[in-house]
Amino acid sequence: MHDKRTTLTEAIAAISNGARVALGGNTLHRGPGAAVHELVRQGKRDLEIVKTAGAYDVDLLCAAGCAAAVSAGFVGYETPFGMAGAYRAAVEAGRVEAREHACATVVAGLRAAIQGVPFMPVAGLQGSDLPAARGFQSLRDPYSGAEVFVVPALMPDVAILHVQEADAEGNGRIIGTRFEDVLMAQAARRVILTAERIVDGEAFVAAPETVAIPGFLVDAVVEAPRGAWPFSCTPYYGFDADYLAAWVAVARDPEAAREFIAERILGAAALA
């Protein structure tokens, strides 16, 4: 296989406005922080963000005007920081569509995409207003006659995942929980991997069981030390509570959020 290493700038430049973008990690943990900041820097527009449980990533992309829709089961910062203010503001103002899922229906939609089928049956959902609100249909099981909800395939145009180690060919090793990263890598048309460090892939030969993402699914690999920041990346660093607190304090107010983004994310580039 060939060398897929590139820069974050180039990897993200290949994403079109309007793309459906799946983001790895979960809430405050192992999200692709550096790549999300690059999406903001490049001023992407009209993205549909796919995630089971998002936090700063979804919130920031809403504040920066990058996201037009969010397909997720949960968007919030968990107990330490509460609600996702920018996401709330954007949805309430009608700037972003909340395509609410049960987290399990995100999984089901990704599975349908992975398995090359147009829909995936999913247990549960009975009594919920979600199927009606989201247009999820049900089908009659031809074997038992039982009704079961089916979720349409959810194929991301691109999945952006942050892993602890990758080789130049895109084999990616995840330390700790894999969350929905493997599903996203399989479901997406393209996969961008950011990695704490690029290692010699020969190191994976001794324990291929530990390689979560096979390189042949991956299109671009970017070395990005601290590339999950401000998310956690076990065992190297936890989430940045001070930074997140500063963001959450301004996120609810579009003007303050824009200033924060200009200062702390666009930085020098914005001033130029």
């Binding site: 089961g73 399990a104 247990a123």
Partner: protein, 244 residues
């Protein structure tokens, strides 16, 4: 078992009440933003149900965390786990009827034990966009028992009518700072009110009709043993974080 001397914080009485609801051999799951279920499950495993299987969204099985995280997806919850599970595995487990208990919460909860985690006002253009129900729409009908907890007990939380039904299903108990509710014949009724809560205060705090009075049982307060175990598991007081 002797009663622990006051003051006991609302979070502590909730954690102990939630722990007591878990039974030996049960398989128990909690998701994101769930410090109280995390602590209750660890407490139950310590005191009542050592063979309980503790699963969580962090992906661990029967972890032995060195310190308790405030984020319940935190890798700190992986410590001691001999295998890992993904969220998809956990949903599947519930879907095929093998999950005994799921801890869930709701911003609004109605008298049938249904929850709203989606929106205040119209779903498509809400007055308040809420975080979303996470796994609840799938877990509530499929887990054998759902234990709801909510750190706020007021008429805006316990409502006659939900703005949106995010999830409905096998709710067994609801634990709040004021009471334990149990679902009987599809309706939430009072199982007990916590020590020091008056029937009047409880009734005023609850937006749907509930029968409560002098005969209503009082939640047995935490014992010395329970409080000792709780503080050993959680020396830094993460139990209080949901009341921040």
């Amino acid at each position: 078992m002797s009663v622990f001397p006051a003051p006991i914080a609302p979070a502590e009485i909730m954690a102990v009440a939630m722990a007591r609801l878990l039974r030996p051999g049960e398989t128990v799951f909690h998701g994101v933003a769930s410090p109280l279920p995390m602590i209750a499950t660890l407490l139950a495993k310590r005191l009542y149900a050592p063979d309980l299987v503790y699963l969580n969204i962090a992906g661990s099985i029967d972890p032995e965390p060195e310190r308790l995280p405030v984020s319940t997806v935190d890798p700190a919850l992986l410590r001691g786990s001999r295998a890992l599970v993904t969220l998809a595995d956990l949903f599947d487990l519930s879907a095929r009827g093998r999950l005994d208990v799921a801890f869930l919460s709701g911003v609004q909860i109605d008298g049938a034990g249904r929850i709203n985690m989606s929106a205040i006002g119209p779903f498509a253009r809400p007055k308040v966009r809420l975080p979303g129900g996470a796994g609840s729409a799938m877990l509530m009908p499929t887990a054998k028992r759902v234990i709801l907890w909510r750190t706020r007990h007021d008429p805006r939380t316990f409502v006659e009518r939900l703005d949106f039904v995010t999830a409905a299903g096998n709710v067994d108990r609801v634990v709040t700072p004021l009471s334990i509710l149990v679902r009987q014949d599809g309706r939430l009724v009072v199982e007990s009110i916590h020590p020091g809560v008056s029937p009047e205060a409880f009734r005023e705090a609850t937006g749907f009709p509930v029968e409560v009075g002098a005969a209503t049982p009082v939640t047995p307060p935490p014992t010395v043993e329970e409080m000792a175990a709780l503080r050993e598991i959680d020396p830094e007081g993460v139990v209080h974080s949901e009341f921040g």
